[in-house]
Symmetry: C2
Subunit: 139 residues, 2 copies
């Protein structure tokens, strides 16, 4: 379920998170941008409008969101943790040329025989390659 921009504050309250200004703006950024930003990107984008913002707050807030299952971390590449406010299971494709991350739908319901006795709490699917746009630009 995607969060809508209108009700960020109520949404946070429903998750028992106090909707401070920083939290609202960070979640709003995650939802609106929908680009799976890094901490650096979030911080840089918001520090202009929230001059007192610190990176620690961005880290704290994202950790809070993850604990509340509002956001999830995308570790498609070490050395660049990204964050996604879309919790529903879907795949991520990273373009090795432009660096963009694309979402795609993929069925992850199928039961895995070997994991029958395991308790699965999280599934991630990461693809890499070259996106359509970058392929076009090459010709």
């Amino acid at each position: 379920m995607r969060i809508s921009i209108d009700n960020i504050s109520e949404f946070l309250l429903s998750k028992h998170i106090k909707p401070s200004y920083a939290r609202i703006r960070i979640l709003e950024y995650l939802v609106v941008k929908d680009s799976h930003p890094t901490v650096e990107e979030i911080y840089s984008a918001l520090v202009g409008e929230i001059p007192t913002l610190s990176k620690t707050t961005v880290y704290n807030t994202l950790k809070l969101f993850m604990e509340a299952d509002i956001a999830r971390i995308i570790t498609i590449e070490e050395n660049e943790a990204r964050y996604d406010a879309d919790i529903d299971s879907h795949g991520h494709f990273k373009c090795n040329e432009c660096g963009r991350i694309y979402d795609f739908h993929i069925d992850m319901q199928k039961e895995i025989e070997e994991l029958k006795a395991f308790k699965i709490s999280e599934k991630s699917v990461y693809y890499k390659g070259i996106c359509h746009e970058c392929l076009s630009n090459k010709n």
Copy 2:
């Protein structure tokens, strides 16, 4: 295709990699242990027998292996890159209790409609949860 222990040296030669002692031992460790070790684990395990070994060599060697498609990196968790000498596509399950990584078979052939115009070069599937053994120990 799994590499067998007997022919590590020939295998490296077939990939146009000079089979130095460090390279042979590191690849051997990856193949035999089959536990998706971190750089730290590889280094610690081998430095006793190869006292001059340095971590930089482990890093260099793993990078070399990845470039030659002999090994792949598993970034199921930022802050702990792991390495796998099994290149065939398969899924990885990480137990949040004991930290072990399990392999499992999963069909990754299915074409994704949304990525039809994309060039896919790498697919990763990461699951997390609690493994069977840790679930048993809890009761």
